[in-house]
């Protein structure tokens, strides 16, 4: 995927657009992580920072500041960070890289309502301006529970840490999902964040968009002549987007039970995948053009008239998965008895544009499904006429183009082929493109890519607030329809509730087995 933003300042005489060897390296800056002792920070953020350093993609003046409610000094935090980097880094742990990075790691202890702690944080940033030459550039990563957002943002407003002009550099904020829990809360959150920071400095992370295959979807569609001509309702029968997880809810019981699959996954990851699949060609590959096209698609989504037939939700019961017995959702720790939260959601959406008129988009997501897989399957129409005897093509299905987002990132094309032998018999075969095989370097972790984009200031892969609000407009009616109903049970280890299969059967289709 090409980028207009090459990193660095535009007037730099040593930067040359033809010089593709020089990596995109941000200017000197600090990354401030709130909630740095949490799971996400330890498993993803710190390792991503280390991997970036190891690849030489961090500027000399880069500093990492952790903020959390622990009675810690810099040393104790450095130990935690070191362990995190050692355990989860992608590029292999090297002591020399780490010791350089460790030099610029600071920890500020305190709770989010502690004014003194925030004053210390602001002071530390000012100090680092001198000691590390970060020149007032800082990105704030809010890796904290959503209810804490307003508190932290107010603190930043009070200490003027979020003010671009105050310190003369840039100040950016990174927000993780969930972006609210319905349209109203989403709008409020957007307003709050956009007030404290300016709208263009707010980066909403959807880590799916940092995945190589998702970006490749744009290359596949817009860099080739082969696919775009058939990428419309004349040739496409339907689109299936699946995001399946084999794990249960883990330790997220508290949050998950109030959210459910639709708010947790459908609202962000799956709708973003739909937007990228269905959007028109952007006029250029800059952030604004791509986000504009995505916004148009999200705005054109129409919910089915009969929600009872086309919005199915389920909850996993006990069962066997991967050779192990697993408990039902209701038996998971900290789940209230009789909870009606869904762990599976399947829905049919239509995109009301000329390109997609009459093409259903089937989305499904769930936990405790047989395997972890995310994919977009574009199912093509059958040939209008087959010059073969009916028995010859009995095993011929629809042509399909499947974009595998994870695992085994790549693309599969399925089409009919003659079975060797004297009889004419056509059967489906697949042609595979596997990233790990055909490419040149191992794909960076999504967080590496996205963190780097934040520090460089490239917002292409981050949904803007309008997209978030439009997504809630899709989810809210579903939630309203489901309110007060009980989700259908499905056994852990099977592909969702029976209702989901019936939903496709109603349209004369079947779910693809991913």
């Amino acid at each position: 995927m090409s980028h207009v933003v090459a990193g660095g300042s535009p007037g730099n005489p040593l930067r040359d657009v033809r010089d593709r060897r020089l990596p995109r390296v941000p200017g000197p800056c600090a990354l401030v992580v709130f909630g740095v002792t949490g799971d996400l920070a330890r498993k993803k953020l710190i390792p991503a920072v280390y991997d970036l350093a190891n690849r030489g993609l961090l500027p000399p003046g880069f500093s990492l500041l952790g903020f959390a409610r622990r009675d810690w000094g810099d040393g104790e935090f450095a130990d935690l960070a070191r362990t995190a980097a050692q355990e989860h880094s992608r590029t292999g742990f090297r002591d020399d890289v780490w010791s350089r990075l460790a030099d610029s790691i600071r920890f500020v202890p305190g709770s989010f309502d502690d004014d003194a702690a925030f004053d210390t944080l602001a002071d530390t940033l000012v100090q680092m301006e001198e000691s590390h030459g970060i020149q007032g550039n800082a990105a704030f990563y809010l890796s904290i529970p959503p209810p804490m957002f307003p508190v932290v943002l107010k603190q930043m407003q009070r200490t003027r840490m979020a003010d671009n002009d105050e310190r003369g550099g840039w100040r950016r904020v990174v927000v993780e999902k969930p972006f609210g829990h319905d349209l109203q809360s989403g709008v409020e959150l957007n307003k709050l964040v956009d007030d404290v920071f300016t709208a263009q400095d707010v980066f909403r992370i959807d880590h799916y968009l940092g995945k190589e295959t998702v970006q490749n979807l744009l290359a596949l569609r817009f860099a080739n002549t082969l696919f775009e001509p058939v990428w419309n309702g004349n040739f496409v029968d339907s689109v299936q987007i699946t995001m399946a997880e084999d794990v249960g809810i883990g330790t997220r019981a508290g949050f998950y039970d109030t959210a459910g699959a639709a708010r947790d996954v459908l609202q962000n990851h799956v709708l973003q995948l739909l937007a990228l699949t269905a959007m028109e060609e952007p006029v250029s590959f800059d952030a604004e053009s791509i986000r504009t096209e995505k916004t148009k698609v999200l705005g054109a989504i129409e919910l089915p008239k009969k929600l009872a037939d086309y919005a199915i939700r389920g909850q996993y019961d006990q069962g066997w998965l991967g050779g192990q017995r697993v408990v039902s959702y209701l038996d998971e720790e900290n789940i209230p008895a009789g909870s009606t939260t869904e762990t599976y959601a399947a829905v049919r959406l239509d995109v009301q544009t000329r390109r997609w008129a009459g093409v259903p988009f089937y989305l499904r997501t769930g936990k405790r499904l047989p395997r972890r897989v995310t994919e977009i399957a574009v199912v093509f129409k059958k040939a209008p006429h087959l010059p073969f005897a009916a028995t010859d093509t009995e095993e011929l299905g629809h042509n399909q183009l499947v974009i595998r987002v994870q695992p085994d990132e790549g693309v599969t094309l399925r089409f009919g082929s003659k079975v060797p032998g004297s009889a004419m018999e056509v059967r489906d075969v697949s042609m595979d493109f596997l990233y790990g095989e055909a490419f040149t370097e191992s794909s960076p972790e999504a967080y590496e890519r996205l963190l780097l984009d934040v520090l460089i200031g490239d917002a292409t892969l981050f949904p803007r607030n309008e997209e978030v609000e439009l997504s809630w407009k899709v989810i809210d009616p579903l939630e309203a329809f489901w309110a007060g109903t009980k989700p259908e049970l499905y056994r852990a280890g099977e592909w969702g509730p029976r209702g989901a299969d019936e939903m496709l059967a109603r349209d004369g289709r079947v779910w693809r087995r991913p």
Binding site: P13, R15, P60, G436, A438
Partner: protein, 398 residues
């Protein structure tokens, strides 16, 4: 899976390779490129190791050609390896004896992965003109290594500049990338006018020359070069109008210190990379490298490198003493000696950069070229022998 073929031929290798691929179930696997490695026996092991390391990041077909003595009897030994230690890759190691070594492309051509780019890397002796080696002519990207050629970096770079065609690149240039990245990011927030610069390095380090060349072209200032004990490049300093100064020191080839006026010093790793990493880095991009051409041009004074045609035409060249003496004795070699006759024919077939004025002029030019080529051949041989000796004494040349 490894199969060794003694005294074999190209067809046998093709057959073995496809049988091995089928056995490994790799028939449908995608190959991003073919990497042809040309090495002499002395460097074969090192070259293969580096290429294998590079290939682990770039799924490719690895063809290692080791040219043995040209005066031996013609013979081809090969080793075909698919999967296993090589991961998704496949490798064919070929030792070519006798005159066959001069026709290596006859074995290599059918082994190239279909419709994938070809990269040729010379490790060890590199032809003065890449057009002399058919294995270079068939490649879309040609990787040389001025550092490996011993002490005379200036001469090596001049040769590369004279011979340059878009798609050429040199590992001495690849070695500068971490320095350039560091300098460029330091410049992101320096707004003063640079006035002068200095590159300090081991005497005769071609990377230092290219780094200085790059700074010259980008900053339009004079860049001084100072010799130090090394290893490699040890420091770069840029001075700005108004007494501002930027300096990167790397005395041990491992850890760099970045000092800037007004900001406390910072240390960061700036490790010298091994051959495998350099080559892997080189395979990342397969298009012509204009900044390299600019830097090379600044170092050597050769102009308009980028305007040259990217495709080379093979110029027949025989390194054996035999044909040299013939070529020198016979002033009109086209009629009697087989080898120079080919040379004349090939240079005539080469598309001229400008349309020829007349047939006679072309013929004249061709004759002159042939004569020059044979003269050059004699000199080159002597130089090469000297170089080999120099390299032996300095070890790997790194």
């Amino acid at each position: 899976m490894t199969t060794i073929l003694w005294d074999t031929n190209g067809t046998e290798i093709v057959k073995t390779l496809s049988a091995e691929r089928r056995a490994a179930g790799a028939l449908a696997s995608g190959l991003a490129l073919t990497l042809v490695v040309v090495a002499d026996e002395e460097h074969a092991e090192e070259a293969q190791q580096a290429a294998t390391a590079a290939a682990s990041a770039h799924p490719c077909r690895l063809l290692v050609v080791v040219r043995r003595r040209v005066d031996a009897d013609d013979r081809l030994d090969a080793e075909v390896q698919v999967g296993g230690r090589l991961g998704a890759n496949e490798a064919v190691m070929m030792r070519m004896y006798g005159r066959l070594a001069l026709h290596a492309e006859s074995v290599v051509l059918p082994l190239l992965a279909s419709d994938a780019p070809v990269v040729t890397w010379w490790h060890g002796t590199t032809p003065d003109k890449l057009a002399h080696d058919a294995l270079g002519v068939l490649a879309s990207r040609r990787v040389t290594d001025a550092t490996a050629l011993g002490a005379d970096a200036a001469a090596a770079l001049r040769r590369r500049a004279k011979d340059y065609a878009p798609g050429d690149t040199d590992l001495a240039w690849t070695r500068t990338t971490p320095w350039r990245a560091l300098l460029a990011s330091a410049f992101d927030d320096m707004f003063a006018e640079p006035t002068s610069a200095e590159v300090q390095a081991e005497a005769g380090n071609p990377s230092a020359a290219l780094l200085a060349g790059w700074l010259t072209t980008r900053l339009k200032i004079r860049v001084r070069r100072t010799d130090t004990a090394g290893p490699g490049i040890t420091a770069v300093e840029v001075r700005f109008a108004g007494k501002e100064r930027l300096r990167i020191d790397r005395p041990d080839g491992y850890l760099a210190t970045l000092s800037r006026t007004g900001i406390s010093d910072r240390q960061l790793p700036l490790r010298r990379r091994d051959l495998g990493e350099l080559l892997g880095d080189e395979l990342r991009r397969l298009d012509a490298d204009q900044p390299y051409a600019d830097a090379l041009s600044a170092v050597t004074g050769e102009k308009n490198l980028d305007d040259r045609p990217p495709m080379r035409t093979l110029v027949w060249w025989d390194p054996t003493g035999n044909s040299r003496s013939k070529a020198v004795k016979k002033t009109t070699p086209a009629t009697t000696s087989k080898a120079p006759a080919k040379s004349a024919a090939k240079s005539a077939a080469k598309p001229p950069a400008k349309p020829p004025v007349s047939g006679a002029a072309v013929a004249k030019a061709t004759r002159r070229k042939a004569a020059e080529a044979s003269k050059a051949a004699a000199g080159v041989r002597a130089r090469t022998a000297k170089k080999v000796a120099a390299r032996r004494s300095t070890g790997t040349g790194e």
